[in-house]
Symmetry: C2
């Protein structure tokens, strides 16, 4: 796979996304949200969740399972709980439908949760954490995936890559946001190492007998490991529980069984929690407290350590200024080829 | 320090605790809660948070700062937020005062948070997660500590050992509970290695220049590291923010500055979140969902991996049956010596 980078204008990317997704069968709202989110990731030079996903979203439909015209159903479950049934559509439209209700509930109650059910999920969680933090709220977002990861002390896959994301509002700045997989390595990286025959980093996988391995082929037959040993494993267990059974949705083991080798992105649920600083401390104190958060960031950056997302925000500034962004050459070619095919239909 | 174990009856431990704490100047409610919690930890053979803490709680008073007769003040901040000002007392009475309000709010709203402010904190977080899970709710608890831990890529202490705890109710069984420090090693272990001159495990600390070290002396002048590299560091940053500025309380850096070398346990805040399974899924579904959690635990234990807290629960069963529990010989001697001194006063 060529890793050479080409350049695409943000406008062309938007137009390509809309056209391809509509032609593939997505409804207008799904085409719009998917395009928005993958273009946003590409502007941040987050290639793994960028324009490349337009291709995989089009291919998803061909494999069945995903409903490309599903309309999410918003349900008010409790004063601080909103549930959105994605009805087997892509998660993004469901998130956007639930977000204003989540924010209102968080402001009214001090803390609130959004549970998204029955969604197919391919996106990163940081855009969600960022959108909530942009509303002046603190965000925690988690989701399960497919059972590829063994628990600490075990040998068989039980957990998904189970990401954990967090957002914190920063007055006048991009929010503090992180989003990490609780697996020691990304699933896509295992695949990349398998194709190129290169060894995995130490401590990321075990073979079918539970023995440590750096062989990607053996890791696919065995399991990935969590980051951080038994602590990462505990965290991943928590995510299985709160983004799965707590909200009435599938665990990673149930999701991969449902997939039944169709190799579609996981169908599952997502739990998103929003906390309102003003409810905890009062409006005036909340402003002061956000400033005290800034002292923490200064102490981290002041010693030369980097805040998570710093690289993304730098890319964003650069690319929004130029109106263009880098994209992998082969991804761009594939997108333009698919668009040209539409022109000749 | 002798690690030889003696045996004490649970009744004698309770009586010793009450007597020593009252004599040291704690109010009856503080003496009761502290005794309850340290005896509970000792029954679970969690020596680091067990009877040994009776001695340190008595010594705390001598160093000033802690108010041994403080009455916590409960404040209803929002439909889903309860705040308890511990008024510079030990945290436990504040937690017990806030717990019923937290549980009621979680059942009414679906999710709720308890913020404890201005508390001195020496206990583990797992008892809190367990007490919430015993009420059929899901629990997340976090607190900062003292700035001893450097961020990933940095060299200077910013974070505390910042524990993260979780509880999940299991019908008819002890809840699933974990409680881990986000530091790579416990602060007490650094001290132990310093005293015995033994090397620290690799990857747990850096010296004053930011270089990796296994020398405990150098680690005290430098900093501890988080578990799990940049992911653990991100998690620890989150805990600083949500258990500090979000709830209007000190970060680990502010707490250690306040301590000003008095070497008292940290004065800080604590954030505890409770989620109600029935609010998310409805009463009947919630019961089914808890069973689906059991399938996850079966998949973990079925492959020979251990659930967190399993060892504690085994010790508890054993010790509650016998009515006695193991305790370090030197701790027991110190407690009995202190009690004998009271007899001759």
């Amino acid at each position: 796979m060529s890793e050479d980078l080409a350049t695409i204008s943000i406008d062309e990317a938007r137009s390509l996304g809309q056209r391809l997704l509509l032609a593939a069968g997505y409804s207008q709202p799904h085409a719009r949200t998917i395009t928005d989110w993958v273009v946003r990731a590409q502007i941040d030079e987050c290639h793994s969740h960028g324009l490349y996903r337009l291709i995989s979203c089009c291919e998803l439909i061909e494999r069945g399972k995903v409903d490309p015209v599903a309309t999410p159903h918003v349900e008010d479950r409790a004063p601080a709980i909103v549930r959105v049934d994605a009805c087997k559509g892509i998660s993004l439209q469901a998130f956007e439908a639930g977000l204003p209700v989540l924010a209102e509930k968080a402001r009214n109650c001090g803390i609130a949760a959004l549970a998204i059910n029955n969604c197919f999920h391919f996106s990163a969680l940081w855009p969600e954490a960022e959108m909530i933090a942009d509303k002046g709220l603190v965000a925690i977002a988690t989701t399960v995936s497919h059972a590829w990861v063994a628990p600490a002390g075990g040998s068989k896959p039980v957990f998904g890559t189970n990401p954990f994301s967090f957002g914190w509002p920063r007055p006048g700045k991009h929010p503090f946001v992180f989003d990490f997989a609780t697996s020691a390595i990304a699933r896509g990286d295992i695949e990349l190492h398998r194709r190129t025959g290169t060894p995995l980093p130490q401590g990321t996988a075990i073979d079918a007998d539970g023995a440590p391995t750096t062989d990607a082929e053996a890791a696919v037959d065995g399991a990935m490991l969590t980051f951080g040993g038994h602590k990462g494993s505990a965290l991943s267990t928590m995510i299985e529980l709160i983004a799965g059974p707590l909200i009435g949705d599938m665990t990673s083991a149930e999701s991969i069984a449902f997939d039944d080798d169709a190799k579609v992105v996981p169908l599952h649920g997502e739990l998103i929690i929003a906390l309102d600083p003003a409810s905890f401390a009062g409006q005036a104190m909340a402003a002061d407290n956000l400033k005290r958060g800034e002292a923490l960031f200064d102490a981290i950056e002041g010693q030369g350590a980097r805040l998570p997302s710093a690289r993304r925000y730098m890319a964003r500034t650069r690319n929004q200024k130029s109106g263009t962004m880098p994209v992998k050459q082969n991804v761009l070619e594939e997108l333009r080829t698919r668009a040209a095919r539409l022109d000749t239909r």
